[in-house]
Amino acid sequence: MKHIFYKEKIKLNRILLAVIIINAAVLIYTFFRVRVGIMLNEPSGIWLDIILRNGIFYSKVETALYVSALLLGVMQFYPEFERKRFRLSCHLPLNEYKMIFYTSLFGIIVLTVLWLIDMAGVVLLASQFFPIDIYRAIPLVMFYWYINSLIIYTFASSLTLEASWNVKLRLALMMAGCIWAFKMEVYNSSLSYAVTAFLFAVFYCFSIYFPALRFRKGL
């Protein structure tokens, strides 16, 4: 596993830096936006926005996380797809299923770390300006964003690795349906719902095996 991680780290060197910068920049932007908002608006206006309009003051973090997932998925698998370089990985003396798993796992770990940093950042930021009632729900909301980011990552990596445009299109339609199903405005706080959604996302991550094994076996 560490050798596959070593390769992925080298491959994604600049992308890792890019996603860290994107997410850090969004957190900093969110901090200043909230700060300025509080300075310029009446507290009641902010309260109304949060409670009545269901406004999420850290919504830009969601976009940053999704952009990161997309970037990671594409940039991790495009070099493998390009010039059929994935063949090199498939011929390594390592079980192919494990090789694919470890490759994806690296992207998922990066995404998880990003999400945890984002969440810690947002909670820390919120604790500076709001009572706990406002930011108590942040981990739950961001947990669903994390699930979505896993799905976007898998979607991007699967489409990038798939060699046939015909299959790519069909795959895109099927997988996009799942992204749409997970897109939500109201976040269910039920633990069983969150666990079910997470398990679905975990299963969804295994869809990378479809293009990977098609690539391997030339089916």
Binding site: K2, H3, Y6, K7, I10, K11, P79, R83, K84, R85, R87, L88, C90, H91, L92, P93, L94, N95, F215, R216, K217, G218, L219
Partner: protein
């Protein structure tokens, strides 16, 4: 021939793309320690065969076994015994030379650092040079260095000559000769430039239209094939390609005719048709024989 000596065994291989059947029952074997050339014109089914051999294509029918295992389902042990050189010398070109060695070393316990260092010294490039910043020829040397250092017993080399100039092609084969013959390695090699392999290959199989046209030791491929030169002023319009006349080429100095006729037979034949007595025999090359057998189109 004992079974234990058979490294690669291809039997009854068939494959189609849509309605186009590209392999129509291909059979050949590669014995241990042999350097085996797989030749074929564009569209003959060579790439499909190589893809199946490398395990990246599942054939519709037939078997392709390497070390007794299906090429698409090789165990880790056998994967480490087989080195693949992909068309265009594909490598992890986002890595530096140092990173490449560190990465592969982790997978191959028998990694030969001295061999890798030998190639790197010949390349004369800094270890922190990324492969993507190298020339095609330099990349081919890196790919070869990785194959040699991992200690693979069998090498499958797909179109090693792609993108290489004459010097690098020769260098590649020199290095291959040096390492392969000393270590009794088995090689299956293809190249678009067939004359390069004349000095390298022990046995050859020529495939045409998805079938084996000829399989023989290289020294036998040219048996019964003769070349004659006729002056450019000879009237050759009545010479037609048939079972005896295999190919007619025009060079700046003469007509070159490849035939199955011996010198005596060809003198009678050409003098009768062209009225020319100036018939000069020459030694056909492997490329001449290949074209004569498969045709130019």
């Amino acid at each position: 021939m004992s079974f234990n000596n058979t490294i690669i065994s291809v039997s009854g291989l068939e494959h189609s793309y849509g309605s186009a059947k590209v392999l129509k029952g291909l059979n050949f074997t590669v014995e241990k320690g042999k350097i085996f050339g797989l030749f074929g014109k564009n569209g003959a089914g060579k790439t499909t065969t190589i893809n199946i051999l490398m395990g990246f294509l599942t054939p519709e029918k037939g078997d392709c076994l390497i070390y007794g295992e299906k090429s698409s389902q090789l165990s880790n042990e056998n994967k480490s015994r087989i080195g693949l050189l992909h068309e265009g010398h594909i490598s992890y070109d986002f890595m530096t030379l140092e990173q490449t060695e560190k990465f592969y070393k982790g997978f191959f316990p028998k990694w030969e650092s001295k061999t890798f260092a030998y190639f790197m010294e010949k390349l004369g490039l800094p270890k922190n040079r990324k492969i993507k910043h190298m020339s095609c020829g330099q990349r081919s040397q890196v790919a070869l260095a990785v194959l040699m250092a991992q200690g693979a017993e069998t090498l499958i080399l797909d179109d090693f000559s792609m993108g290489l100039d004459a010097g690098y092609r020769r260098l590649f084969l020199d290095h291959l000769n040096q390492f392969v013959k000393d270590n009794n390695k088995t090689i299956l090699i293809t190249s678009h430039i067939v004359q390069d392999l004349e000095r390298f290959v022990d046995e050859a199989v020529i495939i045409n239209k998805g079938q084996v046209l000829l399989s023989a030791p290289l020294s036998k491929i040219k048996d019964g094939i003769y070349g004659y030169r006729l002056p450019l002023n000879a009237d050759i319009k009545n010479i037609k390609k048939d079972k005896r006349i295999l190919d007619i080429s025009i060079t700046k100095e003469s007509y070159e005719i490849i035939t199955r006729l011996t010198l005596e037979e060809s003198k009678k034949y050409f003098q009768g048709i062209t009225l020319s007595e100036n018939i000069i025999p020459y030694n056909v090359s492997f490329e001449d024989a290949f074209i004569a057998l498969t045709g130019k189109y």
